[in-house]
């Protein structure tokens, strides 16, 4: 078995094979096509029901219809809602600026969100290449643990609680976790968290127990529009590529895949997405990197520095006394 120090945490091998499973199924994961998400949050509830994840706060956030706010130990599926602006005077209501009282117009102008410097999004169904400047969009997307090919949480876990399963997923073994919390800052996406009362780390398991009996994860099963698709990862990547082509042909220039590329900073994700805008719009890091990527290089440099220091000391010690 090869042992390449530089690629310790970033090698291209199939993670389950790299994990030493002699026989194992093909890698599985999620393809979440956010272009067909209706924002219903069935995924949030189905996940909590199956995994007995506690309710984590009745808080009105005012963030559109998102009162969940983000992934944590107590939320393993999170639906984000992004209302993309219309500009006063050009909205569907077709009010011309002259119709609106000055006080209202002034207030609305100050309220107008700063432009992201992006071209105005084309609405679904618009003729190719034509972006209408009056469009309004409400993006909805269900976020989840990425089950990275190169998973920093897994790398830093000192107890072997976090482990790579036969399916290529990353799972916290609650019978092992000691609550040290190293995994929490390691995740480049901010997915994993610790439960206050319990003390242990928790995150999405891709329903490891359900996979064990041949059932799909609870969120994927429940999703009314099949926005969350579960299956073999390579098949999902093919399907996603075709779906992307379809959307681009229909004029949706801003559509893109996120997490599909094995060459990205985490080696590609087991859970990847089709987004309709930049990842930052959805609260996702644009260029995530497994935080342990530079560890081997760092240790090498440390080793080199130590050797150099040692050599220096030896030289000084042996060469001294003149």
């Amino acid at each position: 078995m090869t042992f390449d120090l530089d690629r310790l945490f970033t090698g291209p091998e199939d993670p389950a094979t790299a994990g030493g499973y002699r026989d194992h199924p093909k890698r599985v994961g999620f393809f979440t096509d956010t272009s067909i998400c209706i924002g219903c949050k069935a995924c949030e509830v189905a996940c909590k029901e199956w995994n007995a994840v506690p309710e984590d706060g009745l808080i009105f956030t005012g963030m559109s219809y998102d009162n969940t706010a983000g992934l944590s130990a107590d939320t393993w599926r999170h639906v984000a809602f992004i209302e993309q602006p219309r500009r006063l005077g050009h909205q569907e209501a077709w009010l011309s600026p002259a119709d609106v009282p000055e006080q209202t117009a002034a207030a609305a102008r100050t309220r107008d969100p700063a432009s992201l410097g992006m071209p105005a999004p084309a609405s679904p169904g618009a003729p190719p290449g034509e972006a209408r400047d009056m469009d309004f969009r409400w993006l909805m997307a269900s976020d989840v643990c990425k089950h990275c090919t190169h998973a920093a949480c897994l790398d830093v876990c000192p107890t072997g609680s976090l482990f790579r399963t036969e399916f290529g997923t990353v799972v916290v073994q609650e019978d092992i976790c000691n609550g040290c919390g190293y995994c929490v800052p390691a995740c480049p996406f901010g997915v994993i968290g610790k439960r206050e009362d319990d003390g242990r780390a928790y995150k999405c398991t891709l329903c490891y127990d359900r996979l064990g009996v041949g059932q799909e994860p609870a969120c994927a099963k429940s999703c009314p529009t099949d926005s969350i698709q579960f299956g073999e990862l390579d098949e999902l990547r093919d399907r996603a590529a075709r779906r992307l082509d379809q959307l681009r042909d229909a004029g949706m220039a801003s559509a893109r895949l996120y997490g599909h590329d094995p060459g990205d900073g985490v080696g590609g994700s087991g859970a990847f997405f089709l987004l309709l805008d930049e990842p930052e719009v959805y609260g996702l890091p644009p260029d995530p990197v497994v935080t342990t990527r530079d560890l081997p290089s760092m240790w090498k440099h440390v080793g080199l520095a130590a050797v150099t220091l040692l050599a220096g000391i030896v030289m000084v010690t042996l060469g001294g006394g003149r």
Partner: protein, 1084 residues
């Protein structure tokens, strides 16, 4: 690879000696991970069930271990849901097994400050005693000399999420006790659908089924927020989209449905008739209608009588309006030379004089009897096949909608001309022989003071475009509760008997024969009404029902007008209705004018509430809003209150009828805990106890309830009635005791019994057809062997119209049902909604009656003339064609006519029910904004099934209102802050969500701001707040008695509302400023 035992299992050793050198996978798999078991696989059994929330009817698998439900998830075999569940369905486990449910009986003595526990048996006895006593006290044998044989002292409300079998027993027992005020959520939700679709097509339910959406080329969702309220059903719209369909969403707000639509059309709430009328005008004026379909399958060619006058002639009125009566005499609307069969036969004249033109009959919502069977007509209509005659329906339609131009649509609806033109283009381009378009609607259309007309307008349009009866066409009415279709079919409604047979009215000496002659048509399937009626009477009164006593026809109490839930509230306030049973309904949150609901209940002698938890309608006496304002004091409230915990759907067996008329059985997975019982148990044992108490009575008042057949088998440790036996009675049997298969087997001589003729066949061959679960993967898209739909398991109604007059399909692409000349029968993918062997070229002889009078080109077989009605000469009492009126409370004057509102609407003047000034009336500017109420995906109706369930409550934890940035600026509202909303009824507070999804509109020269307000909240539960229905008024559609909650006017201001007496003071101050009096808004 599972870890070996003993020291060999140590991860360190496995890491050092095995292939997983880094210890990140195989080496560290723990014992826990290796022994993981999914509880779905380790359960003892999985029981087939159906979700109890909305009316999509998603199938559920309920997993049981050690007699406890351990998980609930979707059943992938379902052709409707394909294993999926929305957040509510997905929360079923927590909802049914969590701590939000009650399991003990509670009792509040008169004037008591708090609850006390009570044992179930004692509670049942006490309730039975109350019913018997109140009934005796308030019994009424006659009114004005006409026999009524009833009690107006008792009423019941609920329930649309109860099983059909439960609603059946509720209606049967209470009717036997002489109670007529029996209602449920169907009244306040989709009663307009029954009228609108029923009078147009002959049956008052969705004309198609959700899976068929995939075949549509253009889907218009209007008056519905499909993705929000029926998420799993919405997958079929996505299927259509994936095949290239255009999806258009017409809605005052940009919602989760709009986000997935190709086009969002913002519309001023309450103006859909103008919008649809505009499209109708566009289609007619430009000759874009599907001519061959229209001339053959609709009444476009029928000649109307010469005395008819249109709203164009009379500035907003049709001919025949009687302002004293607030209603129309519909004689002048009739087809030339024909009459509507009078509702009460030969006695009608006398009755008319005594009761001011039979207003009591019209006010009783006769339109709803067309839930199955269109209005009865006598005579044969005259037709002009060229459709040029100025008095033919098509020409009348043209004239009526001539002023609904794109400019007028822009003025009324606030929809720009270009956008309107786009909608017209998509619709027209996707109709015709090769393409079909479908309308999907819900309560955005029904809940208006002219709601029946909103639906009629879509019916007219779909008939003109030739989309009825065709795959990917038709009208999908999205009903909203698990079995609200069932609670309309069975029904727990005051004016109907099972199968949409009307409840009889009080008339002198009316025999069964008189009643049947009155209400049966001479042509079509409704001619068999005596078979349906007699079979029902045999089911209810069994051996006691004989020809010599008119089959116990006189055991039925009689109506004398409208006895809807809103009339009941008035009766409670007056003190005539003293006892109330709430069976899974929460009027203190879910009914219009919540405050009035509570004042009504505060006047009761006793109240029985059956529900999962302490809903607002059970606790108002203790800490409700009027206790907090000081208007009521707990110590002064005499109402005795019983709270009986209800069993969940996982704890009882029964059938739900979904929004596509499909009955699906759910089996009990476990028995209920504690004192929780099903409503089947409650009604059955209540009836048993009452009959035991009254046994041997010779008082004629008790004959009806003692004669009832009431001997259902019971089982289990709690003596639960066997629901399948009730289903068998609903289905019916013959004298051999063989379950019937088709309603054509029913007889009028007493040799058959059948509890609901449209459900006849659900227990055919003694097999529970509603429990059939043949997987979708083994059938075509129609999936006829999954469960059972009425009528006769037909899934797509009026499908004769999917073929040409000569019987060939309109096109290969859109073929569904067609004539097979060789076999001499109709064939195809669905059960033909037509007599199987009737030839397309059959034309009836002059004197034909019954089904023989229907020709081979009469696809609307339940209509008296077999045609789809563009113009309704009968059945809809506020106009034969839809016409635009402003909502009851509206800041905009009606641009079309001098008449502001629907002149025939029902108003209820009362100090608790004041209306806002509207249009250009003085004071209208005090309430300048338009409120529209609606659902959120995460909650369910009045909140009893979601606000106490943590997984749902945390998704939408507080009530909020949605306002545009422009309105927020105008009124100083802060995003995330609070706002107070005020109408002439009450004031509420809500968090503020400023969003560009709400856009101001321009209507008739003024800027109209709309405010969105979800209606789920009340002061109880984990997620609590003010109820939106505090703001709404009671102003009803005269056909369906449904309230207008989708559009009314209000003011909004920043900050929380006042507490205590300052709250009613604020409301009063507004009224003063607006000059509100008891006459405001009540003019015709």
């Amino acid at each position: 690879m599972n870890p070996p035992a003993g020291i060999g299992s140590w991860p360190v050793l496995r890491q050092l000696t095995g292939p997983d050198r880094l210890g990140r996978a195989a080496a560290v798999k723990s014992r826990g991970s290796a022994s993981l078991e999914a509880r779905t696989a380790t359960a003892d059994r999985v029981v087939k069930s159906i979700c109890p929330y909305c009316a999509v009817g998603c199938a559920q698998n309920v997993y049981v271990r050690d007699e406890k439900v351990v998980h609930v998830e979707g059943d992938p075999d379902s052709p409707v849901s394909r294993g999926r569940l929305c957040p509510k369905g997905a929360a079923t486990l927590q909802f049914t097994t969590g701590s939000g449910r009650m399991h003990k009986v509670l009792y509040r003595a008169p004037y008591a400050a708090d609850w006390q526990e009570l044992d179930l048996g004692t509670a049942m006895d006490m309730v039975a005693d109350r019913i018997i006593a109140t009934r005796r006290e308030t019994w009424e044998w006659e009114v004005d000399g006409k026999r009524t044989a009833r009690t107006m002292g008792i009423a019941s409300l609920g329930g649309a999420t109860l099983d059909n079998e439960e609603n059946y027993l509720i209606k049967k027992l209470l009717t036997g006790l002489g109670v007529v005020q029996i209602e449920n959520q169907a009244r306040v939700c989709h009663s307009s659908t029954v009228v609108g679709l029923g009078t147009s097509f002959g049956r008052g339910g969705a004309t198609t089924f959700m899976q068929d959406l995939q075949h549509s080329d253009c889907i218009i969702i209007e008056g519905s927020n499909f993705a929000e309220a029926h998420p799993v059903g919405f997958q079929w719209v996505m299927e259509a989209k994936a095949r290239g369909a255009t999806v258009i969403h017409v809605d005052p707000r940009f919602t989760r449905t709009s986000a997935l639509a190709d086009l969002h059309v913002p519309i001023r709430a309450g103006t859909d008739v103008a919008f649809l009328g505009g499209i109708i005008n566009h289609v007619l004026a430009n000759d874009l209608y599907f001519r061959e379909f229209v001339v053959n399958y609709t009444n476009a060619a029928t000649i109307v009588g010469e005395d008819f006058r249109d709203t164009e002639d009379l500035d907003g009125l049709f001919s025949g309006f009687d302002p004293d009566n607030r209603g129309y005499d519909t004689d002048t609307w009739q087809y030339e030379g024909m009459t509507v069969v009078a509702a009460s036969g030969k006695r009608d004249e006398e009755y008319d004089r005594r009761t001011r033109h039979g207003s009591s009959i019209s006010s009783a919502g006769r339109g709803e009897m067309h839930g199955s069977g269109g209005a009865a007509l006598e005579g044969t209509p005259r037709r002009d096949e060229t459709m040029e005659d100025p008095r033919c329906v098509l020409q009348i339609l043209k004239r009526h909608y001539a002023r609904y131009t794109p400019e007028m649509v822009e003025r009324i609806c606030g929809i720009p001309r270009e956008l309107f033109a786009e909608v017209c283009r998509h619709l027209v381009e996707n109709s015709g022989p090769e393409r079909t378009a479908e309308f999907v609607y819900a309560v955005g259309w029904t809940q208006h003071s002219d709601g029946s007309q909103f639906i009629r307008a879509a019916c007219v349009l779909q008939l003109l475009l030739g989309n009825m009866g065709r795959p990917g066409g038709g009208i999908q009415a999205l009903r909203g509760h698990a079995s609200i279709q069932g609670s309309s079919d069975i029904p727990t409604l005051f004016n109907l008997l099972p199968g949409y047979i009307p409840m009889p009215h009080a008339h002198a000496h009316e025999t069964l024969g008189d009643f049947l002659r009155a209400d049966a048509t001479h042509k079509g399937f409704w001619a068999e009404m005596n078979s349906y009626m007699v079979s029902l009477l045999k089911a209810w009164w069994g051996p006691a029902a004989r020809p010599d006593n008119d089959f116990c026809f006189d055991h039925l109490p009689r109506l004398t007008g409208s006895h809807s839930t809103y009339d009941t509230v008035m009766a409670q306030l007056e003190g005539t209705c003293k006892g109330y049973l709430l069976l899974g309904e929460n009027p203190a949150v879910g009914s219009a004018n919540a405050r009035m609901q509570r004042f009504g209940m505060a006047n009761l002698d006793w109240l029985v509430v059956r529900d999962f938890s302490l809903i607002e309608s059970a606790t108002w006496w203790k800490d409700g809003p009027e206790i907090r304002t000081g208007e009521l004091r707990t110590a002064d409230i005499a109402t005795e209150v019983f709270f009986l915990p209800a069993a969940a759907h996982t704890e009882k067996s029964g059938s739900f009828t979904n929004t596509n008329r499909m009955l699906q059985w759910h089996h009990a997975a476990v028995e209920p805990d504690g004192d929780a019982r099903s409503d089947l148990w409650f009604m059955y044992h209540l009836g048993r106890i009452i009959r035991e108490r009254l046994a041997g009575s010779t008082d004629p008042m008790d004959a009806a309830v003692l004669d009832l057949t009431w001997d259902y088998p019971v089982e289990g440790s709690v003596a639960e009635p066997v629901a399948e036996a009730v289903l068998a009675e609903i289905n019916g049997w013959d004298a051999d005791g063989t379950p019937l298969s088709k309603y054509t087997q029913l007889k009028g001589d007493g040799s058959t019994a059948c509890g609901c003729w449209i459900y006849c066949g659900v227990y055919a061959d003694g097999v529970n057809q509603a429990a059939r679960r043949k997987p979708a993967g083994e059938q075509n898209w129609i999936a006829a062997e999954w469960a059972w739909a009425w009528p006769d398991n037909r899934r797509l109604l009026y499908n004769r119209a999917s073929a040409r007059p000569d019987g060939r399909p309109w096109s290969e692409r859109k073929k569904l049902v067609w004539w097979d000349e060789e076999k001499g029968e109709w064939t195809g993918y669905d059960v033909p909604d037509f007599e199987r062997t009737k030839r397309p070229d059959y034309r009836p002889p002059e004197d034909a009656t019954g089904v023989e009078a229907l020709s081979g080109i009469d696809p609307f077989i339940m209509q008296a003339d077999g045609k789809g009605w563009l113009y309704a000469p009968a059945g809809v009492i506020d106009g034969p064609m839809p016409t635009h009126y402003e909502p009851q409370d509206s800041p905009v004057p009606n641009p079309l006519y001098g008449r502001q509102r629907n002149p025939a609407r029902m108003v209820y003047p009362h100090e608790h029910n004041r209306y806002n000034p509207s249009g250009d009336e003085p004071g209208a500017s005090v309430y300048p904004y338009v409120i529209t109420t609606y659902r959120l995906t995460e909650h369910f109706t009045a909140g009893g099934m979601s606000r106490n369930t943590p997984y749902l409550a945390e998704l939408q934890p507080e009530p909020f209102c949605e306002v545009s940035p422009e309105l927020a600026a105008e009124r100083g509202l802060e995003h995330g802050g609070w706002a107070t909303i005020v109408t002439a009824r009450n004031a509420v507070e809500a968090r503020v969500l400023v969003t560009q999804r709400m856009a101001p509109l321009r209507a008739d020269g003024q800027v109209v701001h709309q405010i969105g307000l979800p209606f789920h909240w009340g002061p109880n539960g984990l997620s609590a707040g003010d109820a939106a229905n505090e703001l709404s008024s009671i102003a009803l559609d005269p056909n369906s008695h449904i309230q207008e909650v989708k559009a009314f006017s209000a003011d909004i201001r920043p900050g929380r509302r006042p507490r205590g007496p300052a709250l009613p003071a604020l409301v009063a101050e507004y009224r003063r400023r607006a000059g509100v009096t008891e006459r405001t808004g009540t003019e015709v």
